[in-house]
């Protein structure tokens, strides 16, 4: 069964190649069907792989398949190989599953786009890269997937590249991610230097024996990579701009899958974190700070997608809080449930945008529940789920993370719970501005807006995701070890780091607090935004601009950097460096006159002289030789 794994990874690649060469001919919806089918089959295949893996005893659930030798020199040997364990299996299942739903949805969403087939070309390449990222058997192969998803993200953010803002956003995402990638490279080098290998089957068991300092450096460097990919402080700025891409892209790449790659990477490398408590603490602090930053910024956005973007930043922060506090299972649990409800929310937002003729401003919506019943109901499910209202999935997963934070340090928990309160609030605000209150789009001058429910090809994925968002908590219910399925399943992966212990009575109290906080957030949002839509005092500029971080980067990095590049190019290189070398040339060769003649254009004669010189040298030697 598990030998199907290369096919699971290969199917989206095959889909990509077919679409690349025949996509235009397949047309619409043909190209979309091919793209969806390849991912759907991959999902089916991964179910079989899962059956194979779970049939094994829990301590033997690691499957390594070596395909061929990628590159080697001296003592370095890097294979193209696949590494499957419960962690990667979980990733494969939810990535292919969610990607399949979003592919289906895209057939409807992109139906009128002139580059319909191109969209699926990129989307299939993305799924392939994401699968390589999670099942790659060595750090360079994970890096292949890592950069591959980044490149697809670049393509897809800049999908409507005629818009300068989209083109810039794509570029920005790629460059900011590359900063993280530099950390990935250095981390890999350090691993090789101290462990002599880059493949997981060697380095994961070997990590426990590394000195603490090395483990700290390794894990910090990889965390830099994770910060870039998963949009944490200070590299979160690209994710909001990434909303320039088509909405299914935001759902798939910038919410459900790619941005969680950083969380996956840290979970994958948990043996290093087990050695280094420093890094764990850094991750927890960055995580909770990002959770708060994202949540506060999300309260003041007026673009339907930007609320969700900052929400994603915030939720990723929660996941890192879980990683940093040693609650890996909780982090993965939150990652999976987040994929369900955030994909749902984004696709719901897409459905709204679709039905509103590309309107994204919340202030120009309202009362849409009457026109979009399916979208609004499923969106509300997503809201309650992310808010952490029991029994929606977010309650269980976020609760696990917060419990672990409490066990680690009550201070982390306080910040976390504050972010949780804000989460329930800002999503309530978005829900009310979109679906409730008076309609603000019925502008008589613009009679072209006729809100309508989206076609079935878009609403069915919404319904499936809503069910998952509602019931996803069943993956890991805290009622005895039999119901903690995810924890048992992932236990061998995180064997080195026992999860933080929370007594069941404390767990119950914290669960009640979580529920109260979630309901307060919901209530707050309802009371504040039920009938109002313009409250500047609740949307301060500092939050709208996310504490001006992007502006600061512009002023301190982008603008001076551009000036530096221009200066280097137009002054330093031609005037200083070239000038210095010219002086050197003139003084060394001490043939100033010749130089002057050269510059007057007598080069042919000079070239001739050189050629003759070589010939003369040759002739001289020949005559000496024959004499």
């Amino acid at each position: 069964m598990m030998s199907l794994l290369p096919f699971v990874v290969g199917l989206p690649l095959l889909g990509f190649l077919v679409l690349l060469f025949f996509g235009r001919r397949l047309g619409r919806p043909g190209a979309g069907i091919v793209g969806s089918a390849s991912v759907g089959l991959a999902f089916l295949g991964s179910l079989f792989v899962y059956r194979g893996l779970i049939a094994r005893p829990s301590d033997q659930r690691v499957y390594v398949e070596r395909l061929y030798s990628w590159f080697s020199a001296g003592s370095l040997h890097v294979d193209i190989s696949l590494y499957l364990d419960p962690l990667t299996m979980t990733m494969v299942l939810f990535v292919t599953g969610v990607a399949f739903l979003i592919h289906i949805y895209s057939i409807g969403y992109m139906a009128h786009d002139e580059r319909f087939h191109q969209f699926f070309v990129y989307l299939n390449l993305f799924v392939f890269s994401m699968l390589v990222l999670v099942v790659g058997g060595s750090l360079p192969l994970t890096f292949l997937g890592w950069e591959g998803v980044g490149t697809c993200s670049y393509f897809l953010i800049a999908f409507w590249f005629e818009r300068p803002s989209a083109a810039s956003a794509g570029k920005k995402a790629f460059i900011v991610n590359r900063i993280g990638d530099a950390g990935f490279l250095l981390g890999s080098f350090m691993v090789y230097k101290y462990l002599g290998s880059l493949s997981y089957s060697h380095i994961l068991p070997g990590a426990a024996g590394t000195p603490q300092e090395v483990a700290t450096w390794v894990s910090l460097l990889f965390f830099v990579a994770a910060i870039g990919k998963s949009a944490q402080i200070p590299l979160f700025v690209w994710l909001v701009d990434a909303m320039e891409g088509p909405t299914p892209v935001s759902a798939l790449i910038h919410a459900a899958t790619m941005v969680t790659a950083g969380v996956f990477l840290m979970a994958r490398l948990n043996p290093f974190l087990a050695v280094s408590h420093t890094t764990s603490m850094v991750i927890a602090i960055v995580g909770v700070a990002t959770a708060l930053l994202g949540a506060t910024a999300a309260t003041s956005q007026s673009d339907i997608k930007k609320v969700l973007a900052y929400s994603t930043v915030s939720q990723l922060g929660f996941m890192f809080l879980g990683i940093g506090t040693g609650a890996y299972v909780a982090a993965i649990f939150l990652m999976v449930t987040h994929a369900f409800y955030k994909a749902l929310l984004f696709l719901g937002a897409g459905s709204v945008i679709h039905g509103m003729n590309d309107e994204q401003n919340l202030k120009k919506m309202g009362a849409l529940r009457r026109f979009m019943p399916v979208t609004s109901v499923t969106f509300i499910v997503g809201w309650l789920s992310i808010a952490g209202v029991p029994p929606f999935s977010g309650f269980w997963s976020k609760g696990d993370v917060l419990d672990a934070a409490y066990a680690k340090s009550p201070l982390l928990w306080i910040f976390g719970i504050a972010a949780a309160l804000l989460t329930a609030y800002y999503m309530g605000r978005e829900t009310y501005l979109t679906f409730y209150g008076p309609s603000r789009w019925s502008d008589p001058a613009k009679s072209t807006v006729h809100p309508h429910e989206s076609p079935k090809v878009m609403t069915y994925p919404l319904i499936v995701l809503a069910l998952l968002a509602l019931l996803g908590g069943a993956l890991n219910l805290p009622f005895g070890s039999k119901l903690e399925f995810l924890a048992n399943w992932l236990a061998p992966v995180f064997a080195l780091a026992p999860p933080p212990h929370v007594s069941s009575s404390l767990e119950l109290i914290l669960g009640i607090v979580d529920s109260i906080v979630a309901l307060s957030g919901v209530g707050l949002a309802v009371s504040l935004w039920r009938s109002k839509w313009d409250q500047p005092s609740l949307e301060p500029t500092v939050l709208q601009k996310a504490y001006f971080v992007d502006t600061i980067y512009d002023m301190t990095v982008a603008v001076p950097g551009t000036l530096l590049a221009k200066e280097a190019n137009q002054v330093v290189d031609p005037k200083v460096i070239d000038g210095a070398v010219k002086v050197l040339v003139a003084s060394i060769s001490s043939t100033g006159k010749l130089m002057r003649r050269l510059q007057n254009g007598y080069v042919r004669s000079y070239a001739l002289a050189v050629s003759l010189g070589v010939v003369a040298l040759l002739g001289y030697m020949l005559t000496r030789a024959s004499s």
Binding site: S69, F71, G148, E162, P164, L564, A565, A568, V603, Y606
Partner: protein, 504 residues
């Protein structure tokens, strides 16, 4: 044994010289076909040579030696090893493509003749085993390049050619002095005049003499590569050359410099190469960063490629002077890969120029919506050049940085920043040229079948080498191992001989 190497050197040389003497009645439009034909035969011979090449052997293969000027110990000797193998293959791939893709209509006879002679000189430089022969071949590359640049180049081709000539010739002067000094020192020590690399590798000399000679050789190679701060000829030369010549300059001739470092610096002056390695490593990382920053400020695409080459050649030099097997093997692999994607970039620039008559990024916009095929291929080549895994630029760069990290950590850390910068300047340029809308809504023809055919071999190599780099590395690695172990044992022997002297 079939004389592969002799044919590889003499076929284009003889053909090139013969073309000069073709009668004027010979139809002009046949010359390009003739050039493609000769260089394609050259490619077939090179491919056959590659098949014959024994994997797992570190030393020279297919060696042939003829006495030439015995009084000076000058022989005509050829041989190929894992270091030179793929540089020869690279030349044999790029010349037919450069000639096929060339758009030069003026005086095709002389153009083709010079191109063929240039091919002979390039291939010859990689294959000869005698220092005198190498100098001859190394110099011989200058003359055709000079004429190609000044006669078929862009408006400022003449001036760029002078600059190119003066700079590289200055380096050659150092090289010549270095060669003669080395031969004299060897003569003084052993009473034997020889230009054979193998014999000269065992020359005993003081460490000061070794360092001076190392510097004399290195200047020639660093100018040729080019490495900071000896690069200022290259933006002019790359941008003013005809596309065909720019391909050869950036794709092949740049590697003469890095090849010279491995073959001569490392083998003749292993001790100095190590003790002065920090100096060259520093120049390399400065070049990586400086080249990238300068490229970011560049608005002319060919000049941008020149600065990007400065950055990328910095990576290669970094890998060389890391003195680790991983880094050196990566550098040799990267020489091939850099040649492939640089050539593809220049070809694409030529195709853009043919349509818009400019390569200024501020005057180009919105090509992607008009020419998706060109945009797609350009994107692929661009991603290869910024080292995207799965494409050919990655593996070499990764190995270089890993090898450097093992031996010289901080240089590698600075070098890694080049990974970020390369994305900045390439994506920025791409955005200006391909994204957005053309404000004037001019038409832009997508690639013709013929143009796609020119690019396809390079695209296949970019993807193929990215996925199966071990096909090359398995042939490169044994020679890299030999070069390094020779250099190590020699410097150990050198140390022990010093110890004896001191002991007395």
């Amino acid at each position: 044994m079939f004389p592969y190497l002799e044919i590889l050197v003499f076929l284009p040389a003889v053909a090139g010289v013969l073309v000069f003497f073709f009668p004027s009645e010979f139809p002009k439009r046949y010359y390009k076909g003739l050039g493609v034909l000769v260089s394609s035969v050259e490619f077939i011979v090179a491919a056959a040579m590659l098949v014959q090449f024994k994997t797992g052997v570190g030393g020279y293969q297919m060696i042939s030696r003829y006495h030439w000027i015995p009084e000076f110990g000058i022989t005509w000797s050829l041989g190929v090893d894992g270091i030179s193998l793929f540089l020869v293959i690279l030349s044999a791939i790029l010349f037919p493509i450069a000639i096929f893709g060339s758009k030069e209509t003026k005086d095709p006879k002389t153009f083709i003749a010079w191109m063929l002679i240039l091919e002979a000189a390039c291939v010859g430089s990689f294959l000869v085993l005698d220092l005198f022969d190498f100098f001859l071949m190394f110099e011989l590359t200058l003359i055709p390049t000079y004429f190609l640049m000044s006669n078929w180049g862009f408006a400022l081709g003449g001036r760029a050619a002078v600059k190119f000539f003066v700079y590289t010739f200055l380096g050659s002067a150092f090289l010549l002095i270095g060669i003669l000094a080395l031969v004299f020192i060897h003569d003084g020590g052993t009473g034997q005049v020889t230009f054979s690399i193998v014999a000269l590798a065992h020359t005993q000399m003081s460490s000061t003499a070794g360092r001076l000679l190392f510097l004399a050789f290195s200047i020639a190679f660093l100018i040729k590569a080019p490495v900071f701060p000896f690069h200022t000829w290259s933006p002019d030369a790359y941008s003013q050359s005809p596309i065909s010549t720019a391909i050869v300059l950036g794709g092949i001739m740049a590697k003469l410099g890095t090849y010279g470092i491995i073959r001569f610096d490392f083998q003749l002056f292993p001790q100095a190469s190590r003790s002065l390695g920090w100096l060259i490593l520093t120049l390399a990382v400065v070049g990586i960063v400086y080249g990238a920053i300068t490229a970011a400020g560049e608005s002319h695409l060919s000049r941008l490629v020149a600065y990007s080459s400065l950055s990328h050649m910095g990576f290669i030099v970094l890998g060389l002077f890391a003195f680790t097997q991983i880094g050196l093997a990566g550098a040799v692999l990267q020489m091939f890969n850099h040649g492939i994607y640089t050539a593809a970039l220049f070809l694409l620039l030529g195709m853009i120029y043919a349509r818009r008559k400019t390569l200024d990024t501020s005057k180009l916009a919105g090509i992607q919506s008009k020419a998706p095929v060109m945009a797609g291929i350009f994107t692929l080549v661009m991603l290869a050049s910024i080292g995207l895994p799965g494409l050919n630029g990655f593996v070499g760069e990764f190995m270089i940085l890993l090898g450097t990290f093992i031996s010289h950590r901080w240089w590698a850390v600075v070098g890694v920043s080049g990974v970020v910068f390369s994305a900045v300047y390439m994506l920025w340029a791409y955005q200006k040229v391909f994204h957005r809308r053309d404000p004037e809504q001019r038409s832009f023809r997508d690639l013709s079948v013929r143009e796609v055919a020119t690019l396809v071999p390079l695209v296949i190599l970019i993807v193929g080498v990215g996925i199966f780099p071990n096909l090359l590395l398995s042939r490169i690695d044994p020679s890299v191992h030999k070069v390094l172990s020779d250099a190590t044992t020699q410097s150990v022997a050198y140390h022990s001989s010093l110890g004896k002297v001191a002991g007395r």
